[in-house]
Amino acid sequence: MRKADAAASVLSLVTSHDRADSMVGDLLEGDGAGNRWLFWWAVARTALSQFWRQVAAAPFGMTRTAILGMFVEFSFMLLAAVASAVMLLCAESVLHVSFHRDLSDGPFRWLPFLLYSLGVPFALGRWMFRRCPGREAVGTLTLGVLHASINLCAGWIMWQAARAGNEAHVDITVFVRIVDWNGDIVHMLAWVAYYLTLYQAIVLAGALSGRAKSLEARGL
């Protein structure tokens, strides 16, 4: 029943766990009985339908959650920065004293980047689960769209400024670049693509992990 569990996990991102479970039961008994493709087709249609209903039912509520999510994400980034600083300092000491090597030679230089690009969105997913259980997918997409819109607007302004011959560049760096807006249109589009794809996947993985932990704690 691995497919049923996977389907219940997908549906639990757009409805409560109990309802997702009963929906999967219905799909196993009805549409998807004996046919894997029909089953997954029905799961996808049900998930999309529930997703759209949540968007239509509370667009402002979800925008509020997304804005709050941005602040939470920023505080996670600060925490990640502190953690990176401590870990890099330890790594630097060990590498320098024991191996007479610089930190820039080793894999540790990727640590802050990994923390920011994987750890922070994952932790944000856990927060999203606690904040709006059963509506994580909508919350995550709204947050991604918000990020993408901000990047698109800022990138477009910088691009226009660069075209007019002005120097325009915003750069916020805490070990790695958190914000980097310049006149490069490809760079901006890459960030937009990241927020609408990979970022979504990592945040949703965090939300699913939060749900799994919560169910485990309840003995379900």
Binding site: D18, S22, D26, S49
Partner: protein
């Protein structure tokens, strides 16, 4: 019947409520879809049905409870629906409105009250 104002029903919501009433205490996703197909010939997607059921529950026209898990459903429970007095009032009001509209007109193949 409750005295407070009951919000009007959409056409599909009426169909869903009537199907639940026909099924009595055996109304859950699969049986409701089957009943709608048998009575109206209308093939309903699972997503559309769950949306309508959730909306009706939010309006207080149906209530749901979880049944016991069965092996046929991979050990997952049924979500069983029951029409509330508000739901009953809303559906009877809609049907009365249809009857008033049908009065004094003749449509071939339709039985008139």
């Amino acid at each position: 019947m409750s005295k407070h104002k009951v919000s009007p029903l959409g056409e599909f919501e009426q169909v869903v409520l009537l199907a639940i009433l026909r099924l009595d205490d055996k109304a859950y996703g699969v049986t409701i879809r089957k009943e709608i197909l048998e009575c109206t010939g209308r093939r309903t997607g699972p997503g559309g049905l769950y949306n309508s059921l959730d909306r009706l529950e939010e309006k207080g026209m149906v209530v749901s409870r979880f049944g016991d898990p069965t092996p046929q459903r991979g050990g997952r429970p049924k979500r069983l629906f029951t029409v509330t007095p508000d739901g009953l009032e809303a559906v009877s009001r809609s049907q009365r409105a249809y009857q008033r509209l049908m009065k004094d007109i003749t449509i071939p193949g339709v039985l008139h009250a």
